[in-house]
Each structure stands twice: as structure tokens, then as C-alpha cells.
């Protein structure tokens, strides 16, 4: 039956033509088409990856920003605290210094008062001594003005002195 017996002519035409077509298509169609599809797929994949990366980067950046902000905030707090501390320490130092100075001045004043007092007392003592001597001189002078009195005194003095 002709239906199931291949015609030699058609086999030859088919073989030659199909092989030529296969060659042409392989070289000029399948290669660029497959390359085009592959390139596009990889470019899409790359783009997706890049987008993913960019997303991660943005997240990183955001975190970084937040961190910087937090740092800045902490820094500010630190600075304020330090300033406050500094102020406080300065005030207390000044206070202390003033206190010490005052103390010192007070001590010096006290000392000088003491000295003055001592000087005054000494002076007073001297004056009292002088005065006493003067008074004694005058009293003596008056007491020994008469002969009797001088003899009486000598007599008293002699009474006191006991000769043994």
C-alpha cells in the first residue's frame, strides 16, 4: 500500500530541506532568540535582585539614620548633663573657694584682733604698772615726808627683820 511506504523522492526532499532549515534556524533564529530570552530573563532577575538590594540598603540607611539620630540625641543629653554638672561644680567650687577665702579672712581678722588685743593688754599692763609706780611713788613720797614717820617705818622694818 502506498500509504505506509515512504516515497524516496519525498524522503530526499524532506531530509535536505529540513536539514538546511535546521541549520539556518539554528544559526540565525534559535541562537539569537534563546540568547535574547535568556538575557532578558537574567536582566529581569538582576533587576529584581537589585531592587531587593536597594530595599535592604534603604532599610540599612534608615537604621543608620535612626542610629545617628539616637547618637546625636544621646550626645546632646550628654552635653547638657555635662554642662549642668560643670555649672554645678563651678558654683560649688566658687562657693567653696569663697567659703575658704572667707574663713581665711576671718582667721586673719581673728588673729589680728587677738594680736591687737594682746598689744592693748600689754600696753594696758604697762600703763597700769606705770600708774602703780607713780601712785606708789606719790604715796611713798607723802608717807616719808616727816621725820617721825621715817623713823616709824624704819622701826617697823627693823621689827620685821629679826636678828638672831
Amino acid at each position: 500500500m502506498g500509504l505506509i511506504l515512504p516515497d524516496t523522492g519525498l524522503v530526499i526532499w524532506m531530509s535536505i530541506t529540513f536539514l538546511i532549515v535546521l541549520f539556518i534556524l539554528k544559526k540565525f533564529a534559535w541562537k539569537p532568540i534563546l540568547k535574547g530570552i535568556h538575557d532578558r530573563e537574567s536582566s529581569i532577575e538582576n533587576a529584581l535582585k537589585a531592587a531587593e538590594n536597594a530595599k535592604a540598603e534603604v532599610a540599612n540607611l534608615k537604621a543608620e539614620n535612626e542610629r545617628i539620630l539616637a547618637d546625636a540625641r544621646a550626645e546632646r543629653d550628654n552635653m547638657i548633663r555635662e554642662a549642668r554638672e560643670l555649672r554645678e561644680s563651678m558654683i560649688s567650687e566658687a562657693k567653696n573657694k569663697a567659703k575658704a577665702e572667707g574663713e581665711k579672712m576671718l582667721t586673719a581678722a581673728r588673729e589680728s584682733i587677738q594680736n591687737e588685743k594682746m598689744a592693748a593688754i600689754t600696753d594696758l599692763k604697762n600703763q597700769v604698772a606705770q600708774l602703780s609706780i607713780d601712785i606708789a611713788e606719790k604715796i611713798i613720797a607723802r608717807e616719808l615726808s616727816s621725820e617721825n614717820k621715817q623713823k616709824e617705818l624704819i622701826g617697823d622694818l627693823l621689827k620685821e627683820v629679826k636678828l638672831n
Binding site: P6, G9, L10, W13, L25, F28, W30, K31, L34, G36
Partner: protein, 389 residues
């Protein structure tokens, strides 16, 4: 190429594909001409036109699915095709129109340079004018290289494929990295489908080497199947349903498989590792038989499926004329035609599916054979794994 224009053409093509068949079926002139041409051809060599024009569906169908030396266009209009013959005395070139009488449209022998030739059941034979019968001795030395209906279909197909795919290739170069457009977006899903679901899964990492063949075969079969569904001039030929065409494709698959077969493939074919010698004596012949059986089955499947589609469509139409009984009961013919057309519409849809399916199956099986040929051995690895565990 204008993409929009092409798309419109495709749509028109699909429309014709579905509707023109009925138009032809309803045209009594065309059918009558068909009948007369078929019968005249079949009776010419035997009973020399006894006047008995009984419709023979078997002969009509066989005539339609077989290759032909001219292309029946419409009614008595036949497109003559070039005949190229290699005889033992040299080449012969003439038009197949010479086999047909200009006035009577009946077939007649033609006297060439070396011999006289005649058509016998669609085949060219050397005609002995004196004895009025075929010269079988000379016919035996005849090599028919004619541009037949199927060769023309082959050329149309090649033109179609080159046109489409070179255009698409250009589009890929021009629109690099951009989304597919027009005809590009029609073929790209198919190409990606063949690459991802056929080649990659069946062949494995070495699939790239086989892609050009697989793609060419797929689109070649797919387009020719579709072309075969068109019932008039550029289509209608039972091209992929021709055993010669199916054979060439199957043999190519076989050759590529054998060329690419690695040591592992041949070892498994001739001496399956781990199988006792006694079993090998039975297994190896079966394996070797299988080696040749595979392309054979590939050929038969394609040939039978596509031919069957054509036979069924033609058989349903034949029913109309069998019921009409040569015009005696035209009413029955018209009645049955409704049923026939309904069935043929259904079959056409089936054939659209089959057109794709057969192209897919042929490509898939080819890919599986290539995959088995280039497969690296896993058994030793498995053994190693087993030891390791």
C-alpha cells in the same frame, strides 16, 4: 514584517480553518468535480471509464491523504507541479499537467525524452505504449524526485518558518531586554515551554545542545499540522501524516540520540550493570530492539495520528454522498450533511488540539531519548551514598 497585519492574517487563517470546510461541503459542484476526478483517476487504468460513476469513499480518502503530482484547487482546476525523474537513461523534467488531457480532463500517458510515463494510483510509472500496460522493469529503475504536493507544502512550511523565526530573531536583537511584542509574544511562550518543560526537565543540564533541533521539530510539526487543517490551497496536504516526512524526523531523532550516546548509555544498552549474564542474554536483544523501535514508534504515531484526522474528516463528508446515493436521494444527503458537519466541526477542534499535542509528544519523546543518551551515571553515586549512610 507588519505585526498587526500578520496577526490579522492569523485570525483570518483560523477563521477559514473553522468555517471554510462547511462551505466546501455545501458546494455541490466542488463535490461532484471531486467525485468525478477521483473516479476517473481510479478507473482510467483499469476499466477505461465504463460509465459506472459509483462513489467510492475508500478510494477518495486514500487519494486525498496520499501525495499527489498536481494540486487540486477547485473543480476542474488543478495546479500542475514539476515532475523530476531520474531514469536509467538520465533525468526527465516536465510538468505534471502533461498527464491530463486539456479538454476531457482525463488522465493520459505522456511521452518524455527517454520513456513514456503514466500515472498509476498517483504514482508515476513507465508506460509501455505497445503493450498498454506498465513497464515494471523500467519503473523499477525510476527515481521520482518530483516537486509533489507535499514537497510544495514543505516549501511553504519552510518559507513560513524562516519568515516567522528570522523576523522574531530580528525583534529579539532590535528590542533587546524589552517585553515581547506581536508575533514575538506568540512564539515566545512556546519556545520557553519547550525549553523549560520539555528540554530542561527531560535532558537535564546539557539541554542547550539540543534546543535548536527540538524547537525546529516542534514548530515544523506544529505548523504543518495546522497547515494540514486548512482545507484549500496553501494547506490541506496530509504532510505530517505522510510516512516519509514522519520517517525523516524520526530518523533524525534516532541519529542525534545515537551520536550523543555516552558510555553510560551504551553500557546500559548492551550490558545493564548489576544484571546476571543469563538475564542479559534476554535483556540485551530487547534493549537493542527497543533502540530501533523507539524511532519507529515515533514515526508511526505522528503518521497515524495526523492521517487519522484527515481520514475522519473525509469519512464524515463521504457519508453525505453515500446517503445521497449519487443524487437519487438528495434529501437524505442534505439531512446527513448537518450531522456530518457537526461531527467534523467537533473533529476540527480535536484536530487543533492534536496538531499541538502531536508536535509536543514528538518533541518530548525526542527530548527524553536525548536525555537518556546524555544522562550521567547515577548508580555509582547512589552506591556511594548507600555506603556512606
Amino acid at each position: 514584517m507588519n505585526y498587526k497585519a500578520f496577526r490579522t492574517q492569523l485570525l483570518v487563517l483560523a477563521g477559514f480553518l473553522l468555517f471554510s470546510t462547511y462551505a466546501f461541503a455545501y458546494d455541490p459542484d466542488a463535490v461532484a468535480a471531486n467525485m468525478s476526478s477521483t473516479t476517473s483517476q481510479s478507473t482510467q487504468t483499469s476499466a477505461a471509464a465504463s460509465g459506472d460513476e459509483k462513489f467510492n469513499p475508500g478510494e477518495m480518502i486514500m487519494h486525498h491523504i496520499a501525495d499527489a503530482h498536481d494540486w487540486h484547487i477547485y473543480g476542474h482546476i488543478h495546479m500542475p507541479l514539476p515532475v523530476i525523474l531520474k531514469t536509467d537513461k538520465g533525468f526527465e523534467f516536465f510538468s505534471s499537467g502533461n498527464f491530463r488531457n486539456h479538454d476531457t480532463h482525463a488522465e493520459q500517458p505522456y511521452k518524455g525524452t527517454h520513456y513514456t510515463y503514466a500515472l498509476h494510483h498517483g504514482k508515476i510509472v513507465v508506460w509501455d505504449e505497445v503493450m498498454h500496460k506498465e513497464n515494471e522493469e523500467a519503473t523499477h529503475h525510476l527515481l521520482d524526485l518530483s516537486i509533489t504536493k507535499n514537497v510544495i507544502t514543505l516549501f511553504i512550511l519552510v518559507g513560513l518558518m524562516l519568515g516567522i523565526f528570522l523576523t522574531v530573531a530580528k525583534a529579539y536583537k532590535k528590542r533587546e531586554g524589552q517585553a515581547p511584542k506581536g508575533i514575538q509574544s506568540f512564539v515566545e511562550p512556546l519556545i520557553v515551554f519547550i525549553r523549560d518543560d520539555v528540554a530542561k526537565t527531560s535532558i537535564g543540564p546539557k539541554y542547550q545542545k539540543f534546543m535548536p533541533y527540538l524547537l525546529s521539530v516542534f514548530f515544523f510539526i506544529f505548523f504543518s499540522n495546522l497547515l494540514g487543517l486548512i482545507p484549500f490551497f496553501p494547506g490541506g496536504a496530509n504532510f505530517t501524516g505522510n510516512i516519509a516526512v514522519a520517517m525523516v524526523l524520526a530518523v533524525l531523532t534516532f541519529i542525534i540520540t545515537v551520536i550523543n550516546g555516552n558510555g553510560h548509555y551504551w553500557r546500559h544498552l548492551f550490558a545493564m550493570p548489576g544484571v546476571p549474564v543469563g538475564v542479559l542474554l534476554i535483556l540485551t536483544p530487547i534493549e537493542i530492539m527497543g533502540l530501533f523501535l523507539r524511532p519507529f514508534v515515533l514515526m508511526i504515531r505522528l503518521f497515524a495520528n495526523i492521517s487519522a484526522g484527515h481520514i475522519i474528516a473525509l469519512a464524515f463528508y463521504s457519508l453525505i454522498f453515500l446517503f445521497a446515493n449519487g443524487g437519487e436521494s438528495a434529501g437524505a444527503g442534505y439531512g446527513v450533511s448537518v450531522l456530518s458537519i457537526a461531527f467534523t466541526v467537533f473533529m476540527m477542534f480535536m484536530e487543533l488540539l492534536v496538531a499541538f499535542l502531536q508536535a509536543y509528544v514528538f518533541t518530548l519523546l525526542s527530548a527524553i531519548y536525548f536525555g537518556s543518551a546524555v544522562e550521567e551515571h547515577h548508580h555509582e553515586e547512589h552506591a556511594d551514598h548507600a555506603h556512606a549512610h
